[in-house]
Symmetry: C2
Subunit: 298 residues, 2 copies
Amino acid sequence: MTGSHIFGLELGGTKCVALRAEGHHIVETIAVPTAEPGATLGVIDDLFGQWQRERQPDALGIASFGPVGVDRNRPDWGFILNTPKPGWAGTDIAGRYRRLLGVEVGFDTDVNAAALAETLWGGAVGTSCNAYITLGTGIGVGCVVRGEPLHGWQHPEFGHLKARRMPGDVFRGNCPFHGDCIEGLISGPAIARRSGMAGEQVEDKHPVWDGVVHDLGELLAGLILGLSPERISLGGSIACARPWLVERARGAVIASLGGYFDNLSKDINRMIGVTALGDRAGPLGAIALGMTRIAAGK
Amino acid sequence: MTGSHIFGLELGGTKCVALRAEGHHIVETIAVPTAEPGATLGVIDDLFGQWQRERQPDALGIASFGPVGVDRNRPDWGFILNTPKPGWAGTDIAGRYRRLLGVEVGFDTDVNAAALAETLWGGAVGTSCNAYITLGTGIGVGCVVRGEPLHGWQHPEFGHLKARRMPGDVFRGNCPFHGDCIEGLISGPAIARRSGMAGEQVEDKHPVWDGVVHDLGELLAGLILGLSPERISLGGSIACARPWLVERARGAVIASLGGYFDNLSKDINRMIGVTALGDRAGPLGAIALGMTRIAAGK
């Protein structure tokens, strides 16, 4: 697949990124603000059309914010499901581009896709189970088991875990569904509301980060108990900008799991880290999904 | 594998069960109380030796309380790891019986094994991801993904999740590691301590069950968010004796996940239920593990 030509589309809460790659070398990315779907996808349509006239892709990979339909045997495959983002619920994404481009489409959550990129090219090469957590506009968790994204009834949505609260922390959370689930407590907008300023402006020694570290620690502890990943990679704008958060969260995990796992202290630095792919984890996830379709067709 | 002759061993917190099966038809089971390992395993040794003289098995499957070493490439494969059960930590189980019987040994947690039995013969046939929860002396969670038990760094230990507490419930829990993790709150011994009587004697309308339903609901909600199983089967002495607990827990799951998943109310009765295998889920799990070794050798 080194010589394959793949289009990618990463649908995020803030921006959508169209990209094209030779193998997994990204040669061009163009970002479009996430507005209502007609407008945003219209721009992507034009862009893909233009790129296709230059060279037909071998496949397309789409990595989307969730929840999405990931079961290829179901009629809602390739659709965005019950999202609060205005206008996006019920939008057919994969079918749209399969028709437009006439190629096979790989489709999954942005975080399952990033976990797959970590398996193929990042910090999770050689693992049988790895996870990817994005800390950004939302909190998402993806997982790959034995080389394939984890699907079942739907797909992991572990960012909405209702974890044990930090004693004394009374922030009510801002998840429209659950209030103070992990996403409601430590997403970018939640940090902004907790601190009263834009998240990027909160200084590193602000006490709001104590709550973030605690809650991220609980998410990581739950993930270790639930899935036992060999590697958990953290990405997204917050993790990439503040890698010390991940360092501190390791301590919170050790505190939370209370000596239950013999080897955790020894293994935790290797187990939990900032994504080796940096801000390319998301785009490479889309490319990885496209590659799975080329592999499936062979 | 219909005609294969398989020995099984189920190591539980209260009793250990040796069994033999033709295909997955169990022909004999003998239970031995779980005392210190030398005594308990000595009885099993004699029993397996006697059965072997009658007919050589094709494989052995061992399903054990955890944590255990499940990675066949590591030196602690087949060992019981850091358990509080006196004398059992660091005991080599799989190696002992591979040497004694001279057959291939499948080895996993009791709950991963039961989840595999559910995949092969129970309520999870045809699923790509299913989970099994035992409610008994301990609270264990196993998972099978695409036909194989979930392994990674170790194996799932989701019974030790620290979930959000029920408002007003001040029971401190009895897990020696975490206090009020799920196992510390709703295992048989925890229910006995909460109610002040042996668990079997607690009547169905006792208020202690309100807390159990709440906490089980949180465990199930976490499992749905983390793994998205198509089927979650509940077994163990408590679930089998009080199937209404599982019914009530469905309501707690719906309450906890607060409308986030469109289809949950529609799908939950099919998703969450008492194990279709009843009290044979554990023994059949051991047999399923043995079968995997026959399949691997072909």
